[in-house]
């Protein structure tokens, strides 16, 4: 693990970047909670009920909701925990964690686009929890872009 670099967090850009990472860590916790909830619903044989839309049952009982026996939500929860850890470490000045955060978020964003495509054009059904997760990933992606831009300019 690289050592924290306190000098980089004392400049205005560095402080802003650190705050963005801290906020990103908190946002990732929302995704983690969503992923844990859906994982438990899956392994206990339940299907989460939608609140706003009506497609949760179709999406969560589709063959795309799992990779083999592994719930996709569990993969998501692990990814959010990884993002949380990377963002938090980056907020504390661990330099290499910033690019790692951006890397993982980029993969998650790609996965999110694929899942949105499946919901829109294959399943023709949307799931609240999946859309919430997509929103969280979109926010994290925006933050990853912002922190990358701040790093490039500093």
């Amino acid at each position: 693990m690289n050592e924290p670099n306190s000098a980089r967090t004392t400049t205005p850009r560095g402080r802003l970047r650190s705050r963005l990472y801290a906020v990103a860590a908190m946002v990732a916790l929302l995704g983690l909670a969503d992923g844990i909830y859906l994982t438990i619903e899956h392994i206990t044989g339940r299907t989460a009920e939608c609140i706003a839309s009506s497609g949760c049952q179709d999406v969560l009982s589709s063959k795309y909701a799992a990779i083999g026996h592994l719930p996709l939500a569990a993969v998501g929860a692990f990814a959010y925990f990884t993002v949380f850890s990377a963002a938090l470490l980056a907020a504390f000045g661990y330099r290499k964690c910033g690019p790692f955060f951006a890397f993982v978020v980029t993969i998650m964003f790609g996965m999110t686009l694929w899942l949105l495509y499946l919901q829109a054009f294959v399943l023709h059904a949307f799931c609240d929890y999946c859309l919430f997760s997509a929103g969280v990933t979109a926010v994290l992606t925006a933050m990853a872009v912002a922190t990358t831009m701040l790093r490039d300019r500093s």
Partner: protein
């Protein structure tokens, strides 16, 4: 302290996440009162119909085979998709003008929610509707294959629909069980099946073949979720799976049937 703080936070969040997951899991797995199987009330039993049933003049459902194996259930012959298990499980009048084919998974919650709706429709439409059930146990579910095997094993003793209803009725109990087989054996006993034969059949080749055939038919029709419902060959959208949508689809199929020469 500052250097170790993020790691402490990460460890704390990990513990909290695992703890929350365990708590939620335990809450969800709280045993429910085991429901006993009362005498099943078949609406229209899946008796062996005469092989003279005809589904004529429907573009997607051809007339049935006129010859069927002895003791089999004759029903509509589907011209779309690859053939499923034969004899198929059907409930209602084999010659009914409307054929509703469901691809279901006993562990799937939406399927269990559809079950009472279909029962109601069967009662309401009477001889105008026949329901066909196809096994489509999704791999992602822990017990769906066991449940499907149990239904098929019961079917080999002529009580598929009774087991079908029992599995849906008691879904909340067995879906959260540590082991499903004792539940299935109990259901078999309560349905007055030959339990020894049931135990042999449930892992038997005949049941495997039936499941494979239904799965193959599902694959040929691009079934990617459960339940999926076809009404006279028309695949219904998920939004049509509620009672009003199903009624509309059945009424439309009936109207098409009566208007056709």
């Amino acid at each position: 302290m500052r250097r170790s703080l993020p790691f402490l936070i990460i460890a704390g969040v990990l513990v909290l996440a695992i703890g929350a997951g365990v708590l939620l899991y335990r809450y969800r797995m709280e045993p429910e009162q085991p429901t006993t199987v009362s005498t099943p009330v078949p609406q229209t039993t899946a008796t062996i119909p005469e092989p003279t049933a005809t589904i004529a003049s429907e573009p997607s459902v051809a007339p049935p085979a006129t010859t069927t194996p002895a003791g089999s259930t004759a029903g509509p012959v589907f011209t779309y998709g690859r053939p499923g298990a034969e004899p198929m499980h059907l409930r209602g009048e084999p010659g009914a003008p409307v054929v509703l084919e469901e691809f279901g998974d006993f562990e799937c919650l939406p399927c269990s929610l559809l079950w009472p709706i279909l029962e109601k429709l069967e009662r309401d439409y009477g001889k105008r509707l026949v329901v066909v059930f196809r096994e489509h146990p999704l791999k992602m579910h822990r017990y769906s294959r066991d449940a499907a095997r149990a239904a098929e094993a019961a079917g080999l003793q002529g009580k598929f629909w009774e087991m079908h209803d029992t599995l849906y009725r008691n879904r909340a109990a067995w879906v959260t069980a540590a082991y499903i087989r004792p539940y299935l054996n109990d259901y078999a006993a309560e349905l007055q099946l030959d339990v020894d034969r049931f135990k042999a059949d449930i892992d038997g080749e005949e049941v495997s073949k039936r499941l494979a055939a239904d799965w193959d038919r599902g694959e040929s029709l691009a079934i990617d979720r459960t339940p999926v419902v076809f009404v006279n060959g028309v695949k219904l959208a998920p939004t049509e799976r509620e009672e009003p949508g199903l009624r509309a689809a059945i009424d439309k199929a009936l109207a098409a049937k009566t208007s056709s020469p």
